[in-house]
Symmetry: C2
C-alpha cells in the first residue's frame, strides 16, 4: 500500500504465503527466497504424518505448490531446494524434530541475506565516488530483501559515509515499484532521490546527471545474460549508447548455471488490467484493447559492464568468470 500506507502482514499458513508471493505483497528475488523458506516451514508445521516417508511426500507437495507462485524468480526454487536438503539430511529424525530444524534453516537464510546485501553494498560502493549520480530501475531495495537491498545497498553504505550520492529512480511501469517503493524508501532514509518516468531516463543520461546505472536482477544465466523487471534492458541499451557503465547486482543465489542463456528464461505475461486500469479507478485505455505486458526482459551480456555479487565483481567474458565464481563458491 506504499507510499501512502505501510501495513504489516502476519502470515501463518502456506496458503497465505503463496498468496503473498503471487499478489506481489512479498516481491524482490531475495525477499521471495526468504519468504519461501518460512513458507515451507509453515507447510511442514501443518503436516500430520508420523513417518518420515509420509512427511517427505507432503513436504514435496507443499514445495511444488509454493514454487508455482512465481515463474521467473530463481531464489524461490533455490530456497525451497535448500530447505529440502535440510529435510533429506535429517531423515533419521522425527517430523517434529525436522520441522524445528527447518525453522533454524529459514532463520539462517534470513540472516545470510542481510550479510550478503552488506557485502554487495561494499563492492558496489567501490564503483562510485563522492557526489556521483546513479540511475536505478524497479526496487532492488531494502524492501526487496531483508535489509539494505542489492543495487541500493551502496546507497545506504554511501549515506553512512557521507558520499552525497544523487539517485534517479525510474517509476517502473506498470506497477510503479520505483515510485512507490524505491523513491519511498530512499526518501524516508533521507537520501537525495529524484523520480522520473521510465521514458525520461534517456534525458537523465544525456544531460550527464548520472555516472552509472545500478539494477537488480531475478536471474543470471551461465553466459552472463540477466533477467530483470521489464524496462531494464532499455536502460542497458541506453547506457551503452551514452557510454555510461551498466552494473547488475546479483546475490549468488540469483546465479543459475543450469540456465545456459537469456533466451532459455521463460518470461511471464501478466494481466492486461495492470497496464490499462491503474489510474483514477477508471480505465485509461479503450475497452477491449489488446495489451502486451511481459513482466521481465533480458539484458544481454554484451550490455553489462559488470555483475556485482557478495563474493566480488564479475567482469566479461562472463562464460569464464561465472564458471570460476561458481566453482570457487560451489554454486549449483
Amino acid at each position: 500500500l506504499l507510499p501512502n500506507r505501510l501495513e504489516r502482514l502476519e502470515i501463518n499458513t502456506q496458503k497465505e504465503l503463496y498468496d503473498a508471493i503471487y499478489k506481489l505483497r512479498v516481491r524482490g528475488a531475495p525477499a521471495i527466497g526468504v519468504a519461501a523458506a518460512y513458507g515451507i516451514y509453515l507447510a511442514a508445521r501443518e503436516i500430520k504424518s508420523e513417518t518420515y516417508e509420509a512427511f517427505l511426500e507432503q513436504f514435496r507437495l507443499a514445495k511444488d505448490y509454493i514454487n508455482s507462485a512465481r515463474l521467473t524468480a530463481i531464489n524461490l526454487s533455490w530456497a525451497l531446494t535448500r530447505m529440502e536438503r535440510c529435510v533429506l539430511q535429517n531423515s533419521g529424525k522425527t517430523p517434529a524434530e525436522i520441522t524445528a530444524l527447518m525453522l533454524k534453516e529459514a532463520n539462517a537464510i534470513r540472516d545470510e541475506d542481510e550479510v550478503v546485501c552488506r557485502k554487495i553494498g561494499e563492492y558496489g560502493l567501490s564503483l562510485l565516488k563522492e557526489g556521483d549520480g546513479v540511475l536505478t530501475h524497479c526496487n532492488p531495495g531494502a524492501l526487496a530483501t531483508v535489509r539494505y537491498g542489492t543495487a541500493t545497498a551502496p546507497f545506504y553504505l554511501g549515506q553512512e559515509r557521507g558520499y552525497n550520492l544523487r539517485i534517479y529512480a525510474n517509476e517502473t511501469r506498470p506497477l510503479l515499484q520505483g515510485a512507490r517503493l524505491t523513491a519511498y524508501e530512499l526518501h524516508v532514509a533521507g537520501m537525495d532521490v529524484t523520480l522520473q518516468c521510465d521514458n525520461m531516463a534517456s534525458v537523465v543520461m544525456e544531460e550527464g546527471l548520472v555516472q552509472a546505472v545500478f539494477v537488480g536482477c531475478d536471474r543470471v544465466a551461465a553466459n552472463g545474460d540477466t533477467a530483470n523487471k521489464i524496462g531494464t534492458n532499455t536502460m542497458a541499451i541506453l547506457a551503452k549508447y551514452y557510454g555510461i557503465p551498466f552494473y547488475v547486482f546479483a546475490p549468488m543465489s540469483s546465479i543459475d548455471m543450469n540456465t545456459p542463456c537469456g533466451k532459455s528464461i521463460k518470461i511471464e505475461q501478466r494481466p492486461a488490467s495492470e497496464v490499462t486500469d491503474m489510474w483514477y479507478q477508471i480505465p485509461m485505455a479503450p475497452n477491449g484493447i489488446k495489451v502486451f505486458n511481459p513482466a521481465f526482459d533480458i539484458s544481454y551480456k554484451s550490455l553489462i559492464t559488470a555483475i556485482i555479487t557478495e563474493n566480488g565483481i564479475v567482469r566479461p567474458p562472463y562464460a569464464d568468470s561465472l564458471v570460476k565464481l561458481s566453482l570457487d563458491f560451489n554454486v549449483r
Copy 2:
C-alpha cells in the same frame, strides 16, 4: 476525457483558446497550428479599433499572448505568422474586412492540413508492406490534426487498401496520450492495435513484432535533429540497436530552418504532479519527492532513417536535403 468520454469544446474567445492549448485540450503540433489560426481570428473579432494601425497593434498583442501558450510547438508561431502576413498584406482594408479575410485564411490552414496529412500518409505507406507491424509513440494521430494524423496517416490509408497492418502503441507516460488517444482512435477505427508500456517497446522490437517505428514531431531543426514527446529518443536509440528503421513524420510547417540543431530547442519542464498523482486520485510517490519531468526530448539526426513530409521523403545527410527541400518549397 478520452478514452472514457468524448466531449466537444466550443471555443468563442481567445482566452478560451489559450486555455485549451495550455491545458492540452488541443494538442499535437498541426492541431495547435490550426487552433491558433482560429484563435487569432477570435482575437481580431474582439478588437474595437477603427484604424489599421490600432488594429495591428492589438493584433500583435493577441499574437504574443496566444504564442505563449506552449513553448515547443513551432506550428503555433508558424500559423500566427501566416495570419499576420494576411493582416499585413491587406493594410488598405478596414479592420472588419481584414477580420473576414482572416477567417478565410484560418479555413485554408485547416483544409491544407487535411491535404498535407493525406500526402504524408501516401509517402509513409510506401515504406510498408502488407502485414507489417509498426511501433508508434504518443499521438501523432487524427486527434492531433484535422484528419488522418501524420505518423498514423499511413495506417488509415493502409486500412482503406487492406494492408492488415499491426500497430503497437506506447502508452506514453506521463499523460498517456498513446493509451488514451492513439489506442482509442485506431481501435475505434477497427485497426489491429496493441497497447504496451513505454518500457516494453524494447521487447516488442526484440521479438520481431515490428518492422518500423513511426513517430510524429514538434519541430525539425535545420540539421535534421527533431524534437518530439518525451520518450521518442529512447525509441530512436532502441530502433538503432535492433536495426529497425526509425521514421519521423513532419509536415513542412514543423521544419524550422532558423533552429540550427536540437541543442538549441528549449525543452519545457512540466509539473511534478503529472508524474506523481495520476493514479487512484491518491499519490503514487512519496510526498515531497523531487521529480524530473521534461515534456520533450531530441532525436538526433544520426538516429533517424528518414523524415517524411507532404513534399516527399527526406534522407540523410539532412543538412543538405532539408536545405534543398526548403528552397524547393519556400520554407521560412
